[in-house]
Structure formats: structure tokens, C-alpha cells
């Protein structure tokens, strides 16, 4: 039998034992932790570093997201960092020598009320001023781009138009993680799975090491990339983060022939849909209202999301829900991430990407690596510092950025 099976593919990374010390340790082996390690090694020559992951590589939100990539955010600070990320997505498959199926099939954000229409048009204007490709579509143009969308006005929230970003799209999330992991490994980064950080060693207010279930590791610098568990790690280190962790769910249908050519998101009825390369319809909804670390949410959230999907896409009525799952998303009150220094010396934090951080992965990695290596923020993440909650310079993308995924 065995000789009938194809040969096992090459392993993409080693599984080394942790060394006793590193120049920097990244906590969390999701997309952001891996991208950070990659840019630390590539841009800053820091190769004596490790990524510590408590479970398996990229098994957290990185494995659970609906992979939407776009940069049509309202505010200048957000447009700058997300557009930079999008430009990196455009070159990364070549740079990482890995085709992770980045498909720029466009993203549509539907408007269902007059308020939506005004806000959307304003956002299109703001996007254009920031060099982000954006268009306003009337319902007929919406239908031309996505024929399966119901634009009749006899539904509860008729489609009154949409914003469209042609360069936006989706990518294969697992492959993105593997692409970064392989390059990290090639550059000498140790990726250590099943390694849970349980505490920090400090010399006064300076972090000097991490305690893990695989022993103590000394390190000069620590970068936290723990998404939903950021508050738990911050508490171990002795500071607080303005983050609330919520369950966020998504689901897929069985495989279908290609029927859905783009990505459609609706903030108002709260559903977002794309069709994966293999053919599953991939749909996500809103967060569960309560705080939760359970990686599962309530079924009524899924029911609500399905009702919206079927009204917008009558053709989906006979599709079946094949699998549902949940992740833990780290939300902030202004729906913008936190990337920067912390009250603990030599400890840095990248978190708060909440429901929409997959698209930001390359920019998070680039700017966070810069911050860790130099001790000061990159110009792109400077506005996203923890101190904005004290200065009041919030970057309020709630609602402003269409749906926050």
C-alpha cells in the first residue's frame, strides 16, 4: 500500500528545541507573529530569534478567518497602513516564493440606507485622496459585477449601491502562514510549536526572559502577537491593554460551481461572502456581544447571518452549512489596532486587529519588526500607539471602514 502513496512533501520548517537565549522572542505563531519574525530577519538582520506558539503553527485566528483583504478604510492613518499592506500582498507571493493564491477579485461594500450611501460616497472620496482605488457603484452596476445579488427593492434592506475596490480580494490563509514560516526558517528563525508562554522574567521594569512549558528562555526583547490572548499576556507582564476578546464565527458551505465572482460585504445586514478557490461559499458574521475565550459563539448569530445571506443571494437558499467555527478576536473601542511600545521596557505589543487583521498581516509584520528592532515606531504604526487612548487621538474606524473585516 505504502508505495502507492505520494511521497511526503518536504517539511517547510524545522521543529527545533528552544535555545536558552535569543535576541528577540515573538509570542504567538499566527500570521502576525510569523510576518514579524520574517521582517526582523530580512530587514533588520535579526536571525537569532524565536517564534513561540502554544498550539500548532497558525492554528488561531489565522486558521479561522475569512481571508478578506482590502484597504478602503476611511481615515488617513488606516488607509496608509492597510494600503501599504495591500501593496505588500501584491509582491509577497514572489518575494516568499510561494503562490498563496492571492486573488484580486475585488471587494464590494453594500449600502442599504441613505445613511450608508452618504457614508460610502464619503469613503470613496477619502480613499481616492489617499491613493486607494475606490469606486461608487449604483445597483445596476452592482448587479453587472455580481449577477447573483438580489437588487430588487421588495426586500427589507434593498441594495442602494456599493463601494468597490478592484484591487481587494482574498488569499489562502494557511498558505500565507506556511509561506512566511518557510522563509523564516530559511533565514534561521526558530519556530517552536507547543510552547506556551506562562510568565515573564523582569529585571526591574525591563523584560529579560520568558517562562514557558518548555523551560525558561532568556531574551533581550519580547514582541507580543497573541491576538485574542493579548490581555492575558499583558497581565502576566504587569500592564493592561484596552482590549476586549470576543468570539467571532464563520462558516462554509459544501462545494459549488463558481457562481460568485467577487467578495460582497454588508455592514447593515451583517454578512460577508466570497467563494473559495475550491468552491465553498465562505461567510462570516459579527462578533458575539459578550466577552469570550471559548473559540465558539452562539448559534443565533449564525442564523441571523444566514437570513441576511439568503435575502441578498436567493441562489444560496439550497446550499448547506457544512462547517462552522469560531476564533477569539481582540477588539479595541476605536476598531483600530495597537502596534508599539508598552509600559514594560523592551516589550512590544501588536494586537487589537480584532475582526480584520488578516489583511494587515504584512504591514503589521513590517512595522512591528521595525519597532522591535529600533525601539521606535515606523511612521506607519506611529499613530497606532497605546498612548492614543490617553492623548485622545483615536482612529475611529467603527462604521467608518464599512464592515470591520
Amino acid at each position: 500500500m505504502a508505495d502507492l502513496l505520494p511521497e511526503h512533501p518536504d517539511f517547510l520548517w524545522r521543529n527545533p528545541e528552544p535555545k536558552s537565549s535569543y535576541d528577540a522572542v515573538i509570542v504567538g505563531g499566527g500570521g502576525h507573529g510569523l510576518a514579524t519574525a520574517y521582517f526582523l530577519a530580512k530587514n533588520h538582520g535579526m536571525t537569532n530569534i524565536a517564534v513561540l506558539e502554544k498550539g500548532w503553527l497558525a492554528g488561531g485566528n489565522m486558521a479561522r478567518n475569512t481571508t478578506i483583504i482590502r484597504s478602503n478604510y476611511l481615515w488617513d492613518e488606516s488607509a496608509a497602513i492597510y494600503e501599504h499592506a495591500l501593496k505588500l500582498w501584491e509582491i509577497l507571493p514572489e518575494e516568499l516564493e510561494y503562490d498563496f493564491l492571492f486573488s484580486q477579485r475585488g471587494v464590494m461594500n453594500l449600502a442599504h440606507t441613505l445613511g450608508d450611501v452618504r457614508e460610502s460616497m464619503r469613503r470613496v472620496g477619502a480613499n481616492k485622496l489617499n491613493g486607494v482605488d475606490a469606486e461608487w457603484l449604483d445597483p445596476k452596476q452592482v448587479k453587472e459585477l455580481c449577477p447573483i445579488l438580489n437588487i430588487n427593492d421588495n426586500i427589507r434592506y434593498p441594495v442602494m449601491g456599493a463601494t468597490y475596490q478592484p484591487r481587494a480580494g482574498i488569499a489562502k490563509h494557511d498558505h500565507v502562514a506556511w509561506a512566511f514560516a518557510r522563509k523564516c526558517d530559511e533565514l534561521g528563525v526558530d519556530i517552536i510549536q507547543n510552547c506556551e508562554v506562562t510568565g515573564f522574567l523582569k529585571d526591574g521594569n525591563r523584560v529579560v526572559g520568558v517562562k514557558t512549558n518548555q523551560g525558561t528562555i532568556n531574551t533581550e526583547k519580547v514582541g507580543l502577537c497573541a491576538a485574542g490572548h493579548s490581555s492575558v499576556l499583558a497581565e502576566m507582564a504587569g500592564f493592561r491593554l484596552p482590549i476586549q476578546s470576543h468570539p467571532l464565527q464563520a462558516l462554509v458551505s459544501e462545494l459549488h460551481e463558481p457562481v460568485h465572482p467577487t467578495v460582497v460585504m454588508s455592514n447593515h445586514v451583517h454578512v460577508y461572502v466570497s467563494q473559495a478557490h475550491k468552491g465553498e461559499l465562505v461567510m462570516g458574521a459579527g462578533v458575539d456581544s459578550y466577552n469570550g475565550y471559548g473559540q465558539r459563539g452562539s448559534f443565533h448569530v449564525i442564523e441571523h447571518q444566514m437570513a441576511a445571506a439568503v435575502e441578498l443571494f436567493p441562489i444560496f437558499a439550497r446550499a448547506h452549512v457544512l462547517r462552522t467555527w469560531g476564533g477569539i478576536v481582540d477588539t479595541t473601542l476605536d476598531a483600530s489596532p495597537i502596534v508599539g511600545i508598552t509600559p514594560v521596557e523592551n516589550m512590544f505589543v501588536n494586537c487589537g486587529w480584532g475582526t480584520g487583521g488578516f489583511k494587515g498581516t504584512p504591514a503589521a509584520g513590517l512595522t512591528f519588526a521595525h519597532t522591535i528592532a529600533t525601539g521606535t515606531p515606523h511612521h506607519l504604526n506611529k499613530p497606532f500607539a497605546l498612548e492614543r487612548f490617553e492623548t485622545g487621538a483615536l482612529i475611529d474606524e467603527h462604521g467608518a471602514a464599512a464592515v470591520a473585516h
Partner: protein
């Protein structure tokens, strides 16, 4: 779907309720004396506990009253329901109750007492006023 035991109405579906975030966050006693850091803490920083968490809920489509609840944020098990203005009860020992995440005991003794008007001090500060609107209900 959580089954939540409203102190006034009994067990109802989660969809009848509105989440209000961390409980026992008191309005600053001397607001004029707060520095920026302290304001930031009051406005934007809330505990994000992994485990037993005291939080506020509003029975918005029922009696429209706020109350507090102690819930495990990992198992989602509801450990106690209690009136606003009363101190946080001790977290139930993990194995004491066989209830699953979705079953809130109807007979939670800690939750059936009438709301106390007196401002009872708690471990985290003074009692929270029962009329405050929820901060940061995430949408």
C-alpha cells in the same frame, strides 16, 4: 445561545438581553482631579478576564432592568446572577455545578435578593450605579 436567568423574569434566551461589559466600574469620585492616564483607564480600559468575569446585562426585551452576572468566559457557564449594587459573589468552584454553558440555574440564591440601594463597596471599587449605560458594546 446562553440561557440567562433574569432576576425578575426567570430563564430567557440570550437574544432578549443586551451585554453591558465589566461590572463594578464606578464613576470617578473626583472627576476634576483625574489626569489623562486615569481618564483613559476609566473610559477605555476594562478587564478582559479569562475565567470568572463579573459583567452587566440588560434584559432589554423583558423587564428592561440591569443586573450583574458572574460568567466563565472560557466555558461560558453562568455562575451567579446578582443585583446591581451588591458585591460580587465568590466564583463557584469549577466542579461544584454540573450545569453546562447554556444552563443558568433558576434558583441562583445570590441573584434573587432585591436590588440594594445602599452603595456597597466591592473589591474593585464602589458599587456601580444601576442606571449607567453600557460602555463599548461592541458591534
Amino acid at each position: 445561545m446562553l440561557l440567562i436567568s433574569c432576576p425578575n423574569c426567570g430563564s430567557r434566551d440570550e437574544t432578549e438581553f443586551h451585554y453591558g461589559g465589566q461590572a463594578h466600574v464606578a464613576y470617578p469620585e473626583n472627576p476634576n482631579e483625574l489626569n489623562d492616564r486615569e481618564w483613559a483607564e476609566f473610559l477605555f480600559y476594562r478587564d478582559n478576564t479569562k475565567g470568572a468575569f463579573a459583567e452587566r446585562w440588560l434584559h432589554s426585551t423583558g423587564c428592561r432592568q440591569w443586573f450583574n452576572m458572574l460568567r466563565d468566559t472560557v466555558t461560558y457557564e453562568i455562575q451567579a446572577v446578582y443585583a446591581m449594587g451588591t458585591p460580587r459573589p465568590a466564583a463557584a468552584p469549577p466542579a461544584a455545578e454540573s450545569g453546562t454553558a447554556s444552563t443558568a440555574p433558576d434558583s441562583t440564591t445570590t441573584g434573587t435578593a432585591g436590588p440594594s440601594i445602599a452603595a456597597t463597596s466591592t473589591a474593585t471599587g464602589t458599587a456601580s450605579p444601576s442606571t449607567t449605560a453600557p460602555e463599548g458594546a461592541t458591534k
